[in-house]
Amino acid sequence: MSEAASNQAVVQAQGLDLTFQTNDGPIHALKDVNLTVDKGEFVSFIGPSGCGKTTFLRCIAALETPTGGTLTVNGMTPDEARRNRAYGYVFQAAGLYPWRTIAKNIKLPLEIMGYSAAEQDERVKNVLELVDLEGFGGKFPWQLSGGMQQRASIARALAFDADILLMDEPFGALDEIVRDHLNEQLLALWARTEKTIGFVTHSIPEAVYLSTKIVVMSPRPGRITDVIDSPLPKERPLDIRDTPEFIEVAHRVREGLRAGHTDD
């Protein structure tokens, strides 16, 4: 990737604020959030429950409207970016349609976006390969394990040409071994597709292993306490997690999380 391209800001948040009006009074979910995500970056959001990770991701996807500050995606408002189908969103639950086979589930966004039948088949084949689910296209979701369903939902988000992939704890419900495997696959996929990825997690090792940038957040009000640019190389075998550099970054993330807590 050229230097110029990697400096292009994909997400830019300035003084972003979001207050939910609830029956129990206002909830300050995001306060003065400033963040720039460059093209091709892998950004992880980590922080305790309720610190606004999901809310921030949803703001980027125009599923939530900020109450203050500015937010641009690809130089547009989030809603314009949404209408331009700029991102694929992977929710915590796979959310596959039970009445559609895996292949038909992956076709859902393609049908909506009006791809031709031949193009749909081609893309389904490609993304199924990408997430290691060849041969499962004709199966219904209930015939797949939880991890496979989650991979299918990632495939669904990859099927169309969105250059941003937003993932909200996609592997949260999976066991560690499956998770390691999917993390590896996700990195490989990211390297191949050069997408910009926003990734919410609760796991420090996962965040450090995957990201080029780690955003540490803290709650009440939800805000960013640290932004760490990872010194780790792009090429990351699983045992990179035993290197001193990895441990150092993990340490810094842990410190950031702790600092956020003592602020309370």
């Binding site: 949404r82 969103y89 929710f91 009445w99 966004p109 909506i112 976006m113």
Partner: protein, 310 residues
């Protein structure tokens, strides 16, 4: 057959057996007074011999005093409560042994009612689905239609049916249409309620997902809401078709109709033909069971094809 299957069959047969026994037992006290009156007229010895004396006596006492009359309680022409075999015989005679074109064929009458039921069910289902779609997509319709739909169901159909028939007759509509309308009136409601629930069943996440695709409302309807509502729809259809049948029968009562299961019920009660009433009731029940069963089969086929049942 599996042993569980055999056990299920036994359980069902046992229940049926108990019901039939109970029914035979109930026929005795129900019919004893009538039988004794007949015996008295025929000049036979009855205890007590005078009808006035028997009038205020308990049925059980009469049975106890005149045990020889028990046989006859199961074999009267116009019993208060016909015995099971009398109903079964009548059913057999009026279905298998009568030509379908005969006015006394129960199949013919069932067909008359069935056709009104089906027409009413089709109208009711179509209307129910349309209303549900409107309610789900328009807040105004949600607020304005739903309360009326609920109110409509609180009016006893028995009170409403004659008015519908009279009003329609006055503008020259009669025959199958008024019956179908009453039938539709009863069947649209479960369809509305079930369909509204079904169309609203997709959760926030699934709706958000479509939003990230920038899907239009109609795409959301055809690709998400409608398929998600199918299990709900079938549940409502099963309730709806039973309600349709009741509607069609009720629609036959106030006109003094000449054909249909409702007409058989009515004629039976005019002439004290209890056996005829009971056989018409059974025909209606059997018809309802068949219709609901048919929908159940359809449901299984459709949901299986959709991959929604495993």
């Amino acid at each position: 057959m599996t042993s569980a299957g055999i056990r299920a069959v036994w359980a069902v047969l046992t229940v049926v057996g108990v019901i039939i026994l109970f029914w035979y037992a109930a026929s005795v006290p129900m019919n004893i007074k009538g039988v004794l009156t007949e015996f008295e007229r025929a000049g036979e010895q009855v205890d007590p011999p005078k009808a006035v004396d028997r009038r205020d006596m308990s049925e059980f006492e009469l049975v106890f005093d005149n045990p020889y009359a028990i046989d006859e309680t199961w074999d009267q022409d116009r019993p208060r409560l016909p015995a099971p075999h009398q109903v079964a015989e009548e059913l057999w005679e009026t279905t298998v042994e009568k030509k379908i074109t005969s006015k006394r064929s129960l199949i013919y009458h069932a067909w008359v009612t069935l056709s009104a039921t089906m027409l009413g069910f089709a109208i009711g289902t179509g209307l129910g689905i349309l209303l549900a779609v409107g309610i789900v997509h328009s807040r105004v319709m949600d607020l304005s239609v739903m309360p009326w739909a609920i109110v409509s169901q609180t009016i006893p159909i028995i009170a409403l049916a004659p008015m519908i028939i009279v009003v329609l007759y006055s503008i020259g509509i009669q025959g199958i249409i008024p019956k179908a309308i009453i039938s539709a009136y009863l069947s649209f409601f479960p369809v509305v309620v079930g369909m509204v629930k079904g169309l609203r069943s997709p959760d926030a996440m699934q709706l958000d997902l479509l939003r990230t695709y920038n899907a239009s409302r109609s795409q959301g309807f055809w690709k998400l809401r409608l398929p998600a509502s199918m299990p709900y729809l079938f549940t409502s259809l099963k309730i709806g078709i039973a309600a349709s049948l009741v509607g069609a029968i009720v629609g036959e009562l106030p006109t003094g109709a000449v054909a249909g299961l409702g007409a058989r019920l009515l004629a039976g009660s005019y002439y004290g033909q209890t056996v005829q009433i009971w056989s018409a009731l059974f025909a209606a029940a059997i018809l309802a069971a068949c219709l609901v069963g048919l929908l159940g089969v359809l449901e299984r086929l459709v949901l299986k094809r959709m991959g929604m049942s495993q």
